[in-house]
């Protein structure tokens, strides 16, 4: 297993090279350059040329990419071209906020989704199932800024329980944004739980469990859910990945100083270094997260675990015999 983890983490290096290259290419192709976001009103042509040279805009994209990678290899993420702020410090000063929001969203999402999914699957076709599907419809198709605004109107403007924006009053101010981003996860994961539970409900081993005298609740929770976890974990992994990238929309509605907004601002100001820095760090978070999701697969389903530890296990068997 450890060999598999190391192999996966080693893959980070080529990923970072590719991501940096793609980001530089995208920023290069995008309309306008960093100079367009600065008001160069009465710059004389020579001064304008100096600016161009300062940002290496006259050289091909490959040169800028190579220069950036050289810095990266020395472990220096460089300074934002537009603002001159250190990328690493900017990212790390915002990442805890996004992490807190993502985890709160995850808890709300999972706490809502799995029970709802199971209830919907257990009495499929009854009105309970419809109510749950109706609710998940809202979670899936409602744009998050719309949801956020409605939440603010209902729970902060009309009944003043939670603050509308900012993060100063600790937990209280985290509730609404977490619900807004959590509902999206709740929607998709509840649908996923319902459909995979429905599929598992017909399995024979549930009948064996019931024949053993296992109470119905435990049959559903342990036996059925145990086997339906794979697609559920993937769905949670997918949505958590989006949340950890900091959904810029929820952060802008609740003025939550997260990574999502930083990335969008970097893209708007065509600041290649800052965008690259943000995307690479988000990518590392992604890879680690998806590795955890894959390991969860092995934990949940022994047949998959067998594939990872197949080689190792053979070795072990030999010892037993000799």
């Amino acid at each position: 297993m450890i060999r598999y983890i190391i192999k996966r983490l080693l893959w980070l290096i080529p990923i970072i090279f590719c991501v940096a290259f793609i980001i530089y290419a995208l920023i290069d192709l995008a309309p306008g350059t960093i100079l367009d976001t600065i008001s160069t009103e009465n710059l004389s042509p020579e001064e304008y040329q100096q600016l161009v040279e300062q940002y290496d805009l006259d050289k091909p994209m490959i040169y800028r990419y190579a220069k950036y990678m050289l810095n990266l290899l020395r472990g220096d993420l460089g300074r934002g071209e537009a603002t001159g702020l250190d990328v690493w410090r900017e990212y790390t000063s915002r990442f805890p906020a996004t992490l807190k929001l993502a985890i709160a969203g995850l808890i709300i999402g999972v706490a809502l989704a799995i029970p709802l999914g199971i209830i919907a699957a257990k009495n499929a076709g009854t009105w309970v199932d419809n109510l749950v599907t109706g609710f998940t419809m809202i979670g899936i198709s409602m744009p998050s800024f719309c949801l956020g605004l409605i939440l603010i109107i209902c729970f902060s403007y009309k009944i003043n329980i939670f603050p509308a924006g900012g993060f100063d009053s600790g937990i209280r101010s985290m509730v609404l944004p977490a619900v807004a981003s959590g509902l999206l996860m709740a929607g998709t994961t509840a649908r996923q739980t319902r459909s995979s539970m429905l599929e598992v409900m017909r399995a024979d081993y549930l009948r064996t469990a019931r024949a053993k005298g296992v109470p119905e609740k435990r049959v559903i929770r342990k036996h059925a859910l145990g086997n339906a976890l794979i697609p559920i974990i993937t769905s949670i992994g997918n949505t958590l990945a989006i949340m950890l990238a900091g959904s810029a929309v929820v952060e802008s509605v609740f003025s939550w100083p997260g990574v999502g907004r930083l990335t969008v601002q970097a893209v708007n100001s065509r600041d290649a270094t800052l965008t690259c820095g943000c995307v690479i760090l988000t990518c590392i978070v992604f890879v680690v997260l998806l590795l955890i999701v894959d390991l969860l697969y092995a934990l949940v389903d022994p047949r998959i675990k067998a594939q990872y530890t197949a080689k190792k296990r053979k070795g072990e068997k030999k010892h037993e015999k000799s």
């Binding site: 399995a203 024979d204 081993y205 009948r207 053993k212 036996h223 145990g226 086997n227």
Partner: protein
């Protein structure tokens, strides 16, 4: 496995229970599967009873309603389609059909448990074998996790699997070993009644013999009453004390092993025996029963076997036959026996 070696031994009389207490009683059970556009009449009035330590064989072609009977005894029918129209099932004095789910859960696995046909899908792939056995022990006897696990290892040893393998997962076992695990699960809490739904059909012959010997041995050692559901007469001969031949949801012939095998009365049972290859007479021609099982949604009014029976008369086709008793343990459902001197061509004298 020829017919002769009936091992009807009596030497296990001195076992710890007395044979007279009836552990399982089924009285005219009727089960239908109601689908959107048709209803399948799977079981149409079955009654039999089983005393402690005894074994009854439910024999019949596929679709005769054997598995449905077993599932309804445990009240485990998949409820959307399956509906128990009427009938009464008592297991060790408990009325299975009237009990609330909590009470049912206390009885299942403790007093009555079941072995399923297909070992490949009957085990939970994500739980270790030991855990699955220990689970029912802990539920019914409330002992600690560690003791339950040791008990599970003992059960595995009992069914001939090394105890250390309790930590392995089902996909690491072969078909035969999986079936042994299912048997270990069923017998973990030493139930009074064991329903075995064609336990050996999915296995090859050599493994089949081992599994049957094991069931027989466990039955003797633990004194479990056994309902053996099979379509293989050899297995019945090997294990059962009583035999019930089922056809289209009804018991057409019921009697002790000796009654049914030696004094076969019902034409369908005769047809079953005739379609068995006879070791002694190699070039004897096989005489299979003509035609197919009737469509369970369109059962004919009279005797269900009439269409395929060589002795069938108009009377058979019109009315439902009443049971005719030949002894207090042997009866048959055949209108032809209303005539006193009716005899089958071959068999039973």
């Amino acid at each position: 496995m020829s017919v002769e070696n009936i091992n009807h031994t009596e030497e296990n009389e001195h076992l710890r229970y007395d044979t007279c207490e009836t552990v399982l009683e089924v009285k005219d059970l009727v089960v239908h599967y109601e689908l959107e556009d048709e209803t399948v009449e799977a079981v149409n009035g079955i009654s039999f009873s089983l005393k402690r330590g005894q074994t009854i064989g439910l024999v019949g072609e596929t679709g005769a309603g054997k598995t449905t009977t077993a599932l309804s005894t445990l009240n485990l029918l998949p409820d959307p389609p399956g509906v128990i129209k009427n009938g009464e099932i008592t297991v060790c004095g408990h009325k299975m059909l009237e009990l609330k789910p909590q009470e049912l859960e206390k009885i299942r696995g403790k007093e009555i448990s079941m072995i399923f046909q297909d070992p490949m899908t009957s085990l939970n792939p994500v739980m270790t074998v030991g855990e699955q056995i220990a689970e029912s022990v802990r539920l019914h006897e409330g002992i600690s996790k560690k003791e339950a696990f040791e008990r599970a290892q003992e059960m595995l040893e009992l069914v001939g699997i090394p105890g250390e393998r309790a930590i392995d997962y089902p996909h690491q076992f072969s078909g035969g070993m999986k079936q042994r695990v299912v048997i270990a699960i069923a017998l973990a809490c030493n139930p009074y009644v064991l329903l075995a739904d064609e336990p050996t059909t999915a296995l090859d012959v050599t493994i089949q013999a081992q599994v049957l010997d094991m069931i027989n041995d466990l039955k003797k050692r633990l004194g479990t009453a056994l309902v053996m559901i099979t379509h293989d007469l050899g297995v019945v001969a090997e294990i059962c004390d009583q035999v019930a031949v089922m056809y289209a949801g009804r018991i057409v012939e019921y009697g002790t092993l000796e009654d049914v095998f030696a004094h076969t009365k019902h034409p369908y049972t005769e047809g079953l025996f005739n379609s068995l290859p006879n070791i002694a007479d190699k070039n004897a021609e096989l005489k299979p029963i003509p035609g197919l099982m009737p469509d369970p949604t369109k059962l004919p009014p009279g005797c269900a076997f009439a269409a395929r029976c060589q002795y069938a008369t108009e009377a058979c086709k019109s009315a439902q036959p009443e049971p005719t008793y030949f002894s207090d343990t042997h009866y048959v459902l055949c209108t032809r026996y209303y005539e006193p001197d009716f005899r089958l061509l071959t068999r039973g004298v």
